[in-house]
Structures are given as C-alpha cells and as structure tokens.
C-alpha cells in the first residue's frame, strides 16, 4: 500500500513538474507581436514589477471588479499559502524555525480556506451570471479543493492520524526509500485528492497561476514610442519589401 502510494506520488509529481514546465515553455516561446498593455500602465520595468506584485499578492484588478469575489478569493488563496507553508514540516527535519512559528496559524488557515472556497462556490451556485458561465469542471474543482481541506482538518481536529509516521514516509519518499504510511482512510482520501489536483494542474484553468505572469496586458512596459518593439515573424514581413 505504501509502495503504491509512493509510486503514484512520484508519477503525479513528475506529471505536474514536466507538464507545467511544458506549458510555461510554450507561453515563453510564443511571440508577442504588438505592445498591448492595458493602460494606464507603468512606463518602466520597475513599475511593471510593482504592478505584477500588486496583482499577484493583492489581486488588484479583482479588487476593482468585485469586492465579494475579491474577499472570498483572497481568503482562500491567503489561507492556502499558509497551509502549504505549514505542510513544509512534513518534508524538513529539523523543522525550519519560521515554519514552526506559523504552525498554529496554519491549522486555522485550513478553516478559513474552507470558508473562502464555500464563499466562492456559493457565488457560482447562486449568482445567475456566474452560474451561467460555470462548467461542470468549475464545480468539481471546488469540490476537490474542499475535499482536500476538509480531510486535512478532520485529521487535525477530529480523528488524528499518526503524523510522526506520515512525516517518516515523506522524508523517506524524498530520498527514494519507502517507509510505511499509516493505514488511515481519511489520510488516503487527502493524499489521493492532492495527487488528483497535481495531475490536472497543467491541463486546466489552474494554469491561471503561471499564466498571469505571461499576460501581455499586465507585464508589458508602456514605452512603444521610445523603443521599437518587433517580433521575429513580424520582422520577416519587412524583409519582404
């Protein structure tokens, strides 16, 4: 059983890394023939970095668009970040100081994460416009994330799994040595869901995470009059005259 898990985990991690790398390479290699920043846009490279930082950390555009969605999504993403960092303790020995420090918050972040996801799903279910644009996969994605959060919280607050053994398994896994994993249904559910998420990441809307960095309306400097911007395929047209 532990062996099966370990192998599956290697496979999905590989799929995640390679798949994501492929997508990112695809974005990076696709030309941008024209200057299309949504203006007013920063006129310097530093300005662009700041704009992108505000976008990625604070969801600036979403804030302008809709406070309810912004709040729910900030709650979900912020909590998720804390929860992920907290999970570093399963992969490090000794546990890094700052990871230990956020430990108590990380546990509660699981709850706020669930709340954020619930809020986002409520919007999807009850707001007519959002329901109209939602596909089955949009709903299932939320179910999957909520399943991950709920199973994690169950282990933390209700059933308690043998976390020492879990840590032993992951430390071993990192070094290709397979240690026993506790036979716990909730833990299995938790890990299977995470693997599912990893596997679909490079093929789904989860690509919004790397995608935002490649969005020309957000990452271009507003300097078309000062610098000539020319892509390779567009330059070819010039040699034809």
């Amino acid at each position: 059983m532990s062996l099966l898990f370990a192998i599956l985990l290697y496979a999905t991690t590989l799929l995640f890394v390679v798949g994501l790398f492929q997508r990112i390479r695809g974005y990076a290699n696709t030309p941008v023939p024209l200057k299309i920043p949504t203006t007013p846009a920063p006129t310097t490279q530093t300005g662009v970095v700041l704009r992108m930082t505000r976008e990625v950390l604070f969801f600036e555009s979403l804030f302008k668009a809709n406070l309810w969605t912004w709040a729910m999504s900030a709650l979900f993403h912020g909590s998720l970040a804390l929860v992920l960092l907290r999970h570093l303790r399963y992969f490090t020995e000794p546990v890094w100081g700052w990871v230990a420090l956020i430990q108590p918050f990380g546990a509660y972040a699981g709850i706020t994460m669930l709340a954020g996801l619930g809020g986002l799903w409520a919007r999807r279910l009850f707001v007519e416009r959002i329901r109209y644009i939602s596909t089955l996969s949009d709903h299932l994605m939320l179910v999957l994330l909520m399943g991950i959060a709920a199973s994690g919280l169950t282990m933390k607050f209700i059933t308690h799994t043998d976390v020492v053994a879990v840590k032993g398994f992951f430390l071993g896994w990192l070094h290709f040595s397979i240690q026993p994993l506790p036979a716990d249904a909730i833990l299995a559910l938790h890990l299977f869901s995470v693997m599912a998420l990893l596997a679909i990441f490079p093929f789904s809307k989860l690509l919004h995470a790397p995608g935002v960095f490649f969005s020309p309306t957000r990452n271009q400097t507003d300097d078309p009059r000062e610098k000539r911007h020319l892509s390779a395929w567009a330059a070819k047209l010039e040699s034809e005259n």
């Binding site: 969605t69 644009i133 809307k205 969005s215």
Partner: protein, 512 residues
C-alpha cells in the same frame, strides 16, 4: 430605423438579469465576394463544411503560435465572473453571451476541444464542443458585438483582454470567407482611394479650399488647410470624418487654428488622408501594417519632421502603440534596423513621435504660445467622455495617465465650466460609446443604441445634477455614434463635440 427605441434607464444601476438569446442573429451584414476578394480574403465560405472546419482549426492553431496573448488567455480564465458585468453590450442587451467571459468561451470551448487533453477526452466535463456551422455562426454574431474596448481587461485578475480574442475570431472568420461587410468594405476603400470615406484627392482639395473660405468668412483671418506640402514641419494625420462630418469638422478647424496661431508649418497628405485603421478591428496584422505603411510613405515623401495625429480613438491606439512596430514612426530603433532608421533619422526627436494633437496643443499652452478668451465657451457646461482606445490602449505625455489629464487640462484652459461624470465610468473605467471596433454601421443600430445605455445613464445624471450641455470627446467614432444615438435617448445631437472644437471657439487669433 423607425422602430429603434432606447432601453429604459436603470433606476439604480444594478447588474441586469440575463435574457438568453436576446441578441441572437443580430450580427452585422456579411461581406460579399467582391468586398472580400478586393482585400485578399477568400470571397465566400467553402461549399463543403469539412473544408471550412479544417481551415478554422488550422488558422486557430496558427494564431495560437503567433500571439502569446491568445495562447495565455485561452488557458488562464478561471470563470471567476469579475468581468461578467463590465461590458456595455451586456448591460444594454442582457444577452449572456455578451458577457466578456461568455464571449471568450465561444472560442475557448472550441480551443479546449481541439487543443487540450481534457477537452479531447471529456468534452462535456470542461465545456468543450465540436466546431459546427452553428458554432461558427455564433462566433460571427457575437464577435461582431464586441467593440474591442478592453473595459473587461481592466477588471480581470489575469488581464485577459477580450479584444484580443475578438480580433483572433474575426481574423479566423475572414480567413474562411466569413467577413463583416462594413469593416472589409472600408479597408477596401482605404487601399483604393486613401481614406475610409472614399474621398478622392481632388475632392479633398476642393473641400479644404471651401473650408478656408468658410473660416475666412467666420473669422476674417486666412487660415490655411494645406495639402501635400513638401518640407512642412508637421504632417497631420486625421480621421477622414474630420473633413466633412459634423461635429468632426469643427475640431479640424481647431487644429488649423492652433497651427496658425503658433506659426507651425503643417500639411495634410492626399495619400494618407486617413488616421483610422480598420486592420486592427479585424485583427489582421498584414492589413494593419499595410494601412499604417501609407503614413510612413507620406512622411518620407513629404520630408516632415513631426507626425501629429488628430482626434480619433482607435487611430491613436494604432499610432501610439503600434506605429513604431509597424512602420518605424517612433524612436529607439536599433542602429542596424535600416527600415526604421530611414524614417527615424528624418524625424525630430525633441518631440514624441507620433504626437497627439492634444499633446501638441497642451505643449503650446504651457509654452504660452496660445491665448484664449474662455468666456467664448461660457454657453457650455462641459463634461469629458474618455474614449476607450485612448483610455485603455494608449497614453499621452510622459507619465502614466497623461491621456486622462491632458485633454482635461486643455478643456479647463479654454473654458470655465467643467464637471466630471460619475467615478467608475471615466478614465480607464470609461464606457465605450457603443459604436467602436468596426460596429459603426446602420445594420447594427439596435446594438449601438443598447450599447450606449451605460454612458447615456451617466450623462443624464450629470445633466440633471450639473446642467451639462456639452460632452467633449476625442474620437471620430464616438462623435459619429453619439450624434446618431443621442437623439434616440432624448438628447440634442449637438451636445457632443471635440476638444478642439472648444479650442477653436476660444482661441485668440491675430498677430500674437
């Protein structure tokens, strides 16, 4: 025409309920064979559907490999709905497929089916669908109900720009002989005659001479409207509507007065008598480039030092953001970039190339080379409508947001009464007039009236509260659209006009 009615204002501007199918089959006229072939597109769709199907998918693949925007935007949307209530066409028509995200999904569903693994394996699950004739008709209908105004892209957390998707869709449709009549006909004219309105050189010359006489009668001063003058300092590129449409022409007179008062030698060009570039609207790079190259040729031939662009929204986006790329009008080309250097060496880089006429006038006002009698505009209580392409696709001056400040500064320098419209509907959040993006055609009048709703509501509010009686704007399409739809909303059509119309009213001519 007679049965076109304005939708009722919303009492409180809440997001409207959905009316599925409200705008189905209300797209514009399809271009005929002659129009398409004249600009190098297939005349009509293939008899055999499979052939068209394969060509569409192949073209889509090509565009995905040429435009990063399209590639990233097809993947990145999370269906968060932040953009869903931001489109004026959705607000005015309530058709859910006019929500930006739903408009993108018309293409995204096909992208997923043919270009992604989950869409190939489980189409139902991810909302992927086969490309059918019905799907293509739906593309034609709804991608021709988007003015490419980019309001949605301001609010999207990933900056997804529906205009990029619309442009790609129109490019694909054109490539299989399913183009839109209005835009393609105009592109034909610009190549054949030199401007969108099909005004040939000699007729233009007559018009300009007539204009000189009219202005002389009105002011007693000889203001020139020169054409094809070699060695002039400034080449003015302006939308051809400025030559005879109302109220456009009043702004043209304004530019001429500014040039006159500042002693600037300037010229128009008969070869490049059009600032507009509908190549952008149909998303076709080659057309965009070819149309823009006329300006390069004219500049080289006339040997001008500066290129100034008149009041036109999308033309300014093309000029500001794309001209340097397309034609070399700009600065900062590589030393060994011979194509661009040829022109850039000729231009005077103490000034931004190209320069917007508002930048030109504002610079002159700051240098105290112009003076005004502001009371001449006292009959007006003025507000300013930001045009979408200027607001969200370009800039003026040398700081971010100059495109908002400079026109307002000019208005305040030439008039006493100025008020803003409600926050959230100006600057980068401005609403499109409802006629941009190649939709300014009578066969879309229903859409245009409905699309103007959000702007009309806010204007009405400003009229009620501040007694506004003049809405200034710097776009030829805005001017044409508003003069047409405002009467349907109960406004006087003369309420809309250009910024340089106000300049023209107040400018003091003579020997200063």
């Amino acid at each position: 025409m007679a049965d076109v009615a304005a939708p009722a204002y919303r009492i409180i501007p809440i997001i409207p309920a959905l009316k599925p199918g409200a705008m189905e089959g209300k797209g514009p006229f399809v271009a005929n064979e002659k129009i398409n072939e004249a600009i190098g597109f297939p005349g009509k769709m293939a008899e055999n559907w499979q052939e068209t199907h394969d060509a569409v998918i192949a073209k889509m693949g090509e565009l995905l490999s040429k435009y990063r925007s399209l590639k990233v935007y097809m993947d990145a949307c999370v269906h968060c709905g932040a953009c869903s209530d931001k489109c004026h066409y959705f607000i005015g028509t309530q058709d859910p497929k006019n929500m930006p995200v739903a408009r993108q999904d018309l293409m995204r569903s096909v992208y997923r089916r043919y270009f992604t693994l989950p869409g190939k394996l489980f189409p139902k699950l991810v909302g992927a669908r086969d490309l059918t004739r019905e799907v293509l008709d739906e593309w034609y209908n709804y991608f021709n109900q988007c003015s490419e105004c980019r309001r949605c892209s301001v609010f999207c957390p990933y900056g997804i720009d529906t205009a990029e998707v619309t442009m790609a869709a129109r490019e694909i449709l054109d490539s299989v002989g399913y183009g839109q009549k209005y835009s393609n006909e105009i592109i034909g004219k610009v190549h054949r005659i030199g401007n969108n309105l099909g005004l040939p050189g000699p007729a233009l010359q007559d018009t300009l001479e007539g204009l000189e006489e009219d202005v002389k009668d009105a002011t007693g001063i000889d203001i020139r409207f020169p054409m094809d003058v070699k060695g002039a300092e400034v080449l003015l590129i302006t939308p051809s509507a400025d030559f005879f449409a109302e109220p456009h022409i009043d702004s043209l007179i304004g530019y001429a007065k500014v040039f006159h008062a500042t002693g600037t030698s300037w010229t128009l060009s008969s070869m490049a008598s059009e600032a507009g570039n509908f190549g952008m609207f149909i998303g076709n790079y080659e057309q965009l480039r070819k149309i823009a190259l006329r300006i390069r040729e004219a500049a080289l031939e006339l040997g001008v030092k500066r290129i100034v662009v008149g009041e036109c929204g999308h033309a300014w986006r093309v000029a500001y953001s794309f001209w340097n790329t397309l034609t070399g009008v700009g600065d900062g080309a590589d030393a060994n970039d011979r194509f661009a250097q040829m022109l850039q060496k000729q231009l005077d880089h103490r000034y931004k190339q190209p320069t917007h006429i508002c930048e030109f006038t504002w610079d002159m006002i700051q240098d105290e080379r112009l003076s005004f009698d502001k009371s001449k505009n006292d009959k007006h209580i003025i507000t300013f409508h930001d045009s979408c392409n200027v607001a969200r696709g370009s800039r003026m001056g040398d700081f971010a947001g100059g495109q908002f400040e400079i026109p307002r500064n000019i208005i305040k320098a030439v008039a006493n009464n100025y008020v803003e419209m409600r926050d959230g509907t100006t600057r980068e959040q401005t609403f499109c007039c409802g006629g941009g993006g190649g939709l300014l055609t009578d066969d879309l009048i229903d859409l245009r009236v409905k699309g103007a709703l959000p702007r009309m509501e806010v204007l009405q509010e400003t009229v009620d509260v501040h007694g506004v009686n003049f809405m200034a704007t710097i776009c030829a399409i805005c001017k044409a659209q508003f003069t047409k739809v405002m009467p349907i909303y109960g406004f006087d059509r003369r309420m809309v006009g250009g910024v340089h119309q106000l300049v023209s009213n107040a400018i003091i001519l003579g020997d200063k």
